[in-house]
Each structure stands twice: as structure tokens, then as C-alpha cells.
């Protein structure tokens, strides 16, 4: 498996997890998050694998303290893939407790 395909699979996993977590709340919430990512960071949901801080910031701006529960839900969806390096880094970076100490490689 090439690196590019491997990365695309991980991006897809992150996208599905984020979308599922947000769709549990409502379709307009997913639309608002996707729109805000694009407008503020010129970024799409799959790009959040490389920039989890963007997603966290958008969720924080939208739901304030309540966003931590959405992040927990994303964690839950991605837990079984946490063994993959980039997914693990994504999960560490998006975590509200570790966000400030995380340094991307």
C-alpha cells in the first residue's frame, strides 16, 4: 500500500468519524462546522487529520465548553484505529487536555 493511499484511508476514517459525531446532533451542525472550517482556515474535514486544532477551534467557537463532548464522541468513533500513527496524533491533538502541549511532527 502506498503512503498516499494510506493517508487517504486515514483521512476518510477521520472524515467519517467527525461526520457521524456531528450528524448525531443534526445535519446543519455538520454543515456549519464544514463551512466554518472552509471560511476560517480554507480547510475541508479530511484536512483535519493534519490540522486537528482547526476542528477543535471551530467546535469550541460553536459550542463553547460543550464541544468537549463532541470531541469525546469523535474519540469513540476512532478508538479502534488509534493504533495508526496519524490517527493517534489526531486524537491526542484534538483532546481538550492535550491540545496546548501537542506539537505536530
Amino acid at each position: 500500500m502506498s503512503d498516499a493511499t494510506d493517508m487517504e484511508i486515514k483521512k476518510a476514517l477521520v472524515t467519517i468519524s467527525v461526520e457521524e459525531a456531528l450528524l448525531e446532533i443534526g445535519r446543519p451542525v455538520l454543515d456549519a462546522v464544514a463551512h466554518s472550517l472552509y471560511v476560517n482556515y480554507t480547510c475541508f474535514i479530511p484536512d483535519c487529520l493534519a490540522h486537528p486544532e482547526y476542528l477543535r477551534q471551530v467546535l469550541q467557537e460553536l459550542y463553547g465548553n460543550g464541544c468537549a463532548n463532541i470531541i469525546k464522541s469523535i474519540h469513540k468513533h476512532l478508538d479502534e484505529y488509534a493504533g495508526m500513527q496519524q490517527i493517534e496524533e489526531f486524537l491526542i491533538a484534538i483532546n481538550p487536555i492535550t491540545i496546548h502541549s501537542y506539537q505536530p511532527r
Binding site: L23, E24, I25, G26, R27, P28, V29, D31, A32, A34, H35, Y38, T42, F44, Q60, E61, L62, Y63, G64, N65, G66, C67, A68, N69, I70, K72, S73
Partner: protein, 268 residues
Amino acid sequence: MQNNLQHSDLKKFLFITIAATGLVLLIANLFGKDTASIISLILYIPVTVSLVVVSIILSKRFGFKGDHGKAWILFLIFAILWFIAERISLYYNLTLGEELFPSEADAFWLAGYPFLFVFTIFYIKPMKRMISKKIIFVALAISITVLTSTLYITYDQNTGTNLLEFSIAIAYPIADAIILVPAIIGMMLFLGGRVNFLWSLMCIAIISEIIADTGYLFAVLHDTYYQGHAVDVLFIWYYIIFTFGVYHHITIFKDHRKDPYKNIEELR
């Protein structure tokens, strides 16, 4: 930046609307009870219609799926029930020339509360794990304090009043105090987020409603209530504040499906 501008404009417009309705009803009262009655009845129409309209728009946008979809459907039912109650009240005012209490309108008003309560539950449900015991304790403490004060103030006033009248009148502040609990929880939960505007407004509206219901209870017990009474302005504000809160949600959760991605080429 644009959102912040819209948000501050909305706040200004809310403040102007509240001040204008208060001033209109105050001036109407200076011209006598009949004028106040007509003006307040007129004011109730746009405020209740607006709440139903914004609720329909948001319910349609969220659909039936997701916790917030269900929440907004419940909110719409609440808005419709209160709209019907206001129209019944209007009917009695126009046909009998006075506010009938208790009336069928009270059944619709009281029926609206469970829907508003379940709305708040469904809205905060996706974030339920973030609700600490401390948040629940603070919300309960505030609500019980407000309710106890209301009951304490009104208890002594019940001198020879019909028990049914008193029970129905006292049911409103009790229901408001119950709604206040999830509203405070929501306000603390969404602190720092854009959705917090709705929850802050909801708390303000509910407190305004508790004061209005207590004032109404006083006026009914002393037989001094008339349509257009000072407490009516607080009821009108309740609808206005809720409408602005829901409208703000419409601006947050805009339908972007028709917006083209302008710089799509540079992203690929």
C-alpha cells in the same frame, strides 16, 4: 468578523425592540385602560407570529434527524401551542371585552411547558457527559431560590380566592422554575460558544416570565389585572427574546448548500 458584526447588530436590534415595545405600552397606559388593552392585543400578534415563523424555519432546516432536529420540532410545538393560547385570549378579549381567567388558553399555555422542557433536554443531550453535579446543583439552587421567593411572596395574597384560579396561576411560576433548571445548565454548558446566545436569552426570558407570572398572579388575586397591564410588557418581551434567540440560531446554522467554494482550485 462578519458574524461578530451580525451578532452585535442583532443585540442592538433586540435592545431597540424591547425598549420600543415597553415605551409603546407605557404610553398606551397613559391614555387609559382601553387604549392599553388594544395596543397590547395588537403587539401580541406580531411577536407570537414571529416566534412561530422562526421556529418553522429552524425546524425545517434541522428536519427530524439528530437530537437537535427533534429538539426544534418540540420547540415548534411549544411555539404553536402558545400561539393558539394567545389567539384564544385575543378572542375572549374581543368578544367579552376582558381577559377570562382561567380559560381554555391556560390549557394551551400549560401544555406548552412540557414541550419546552423536553426541547431543552434534547438540545443538551449530545453534551450530557459534560454536565457535572456542580452545574446541576447551581442550576437547581438558582431555580429553587427563585421559586421559593415567588411562592413566599404570593402565599399570603391568597385570601378567599378560588382554589382553581390560584392553582392555575401558581402553576406558571412553578413551570417556569422547572424550565429554568435546564436553561441555566445550557447557559453554563455552552459558555464561550456561539449557541450560548440562545441559552443566555432563554434564561433572561424565563426570569422575565417568572416576574410576569408572579405579577399576573398578584394582579389576578387583587382583581386589578386588565389587558395591557404593566405585566403584559414582560410577556411580550418573552416572545421577543425567544424570537431573537431562535433567529440567531438560524444565522449560525445557515443553509450553505448553495454557496459555491470560491477557491476550490487552490485547494486541489
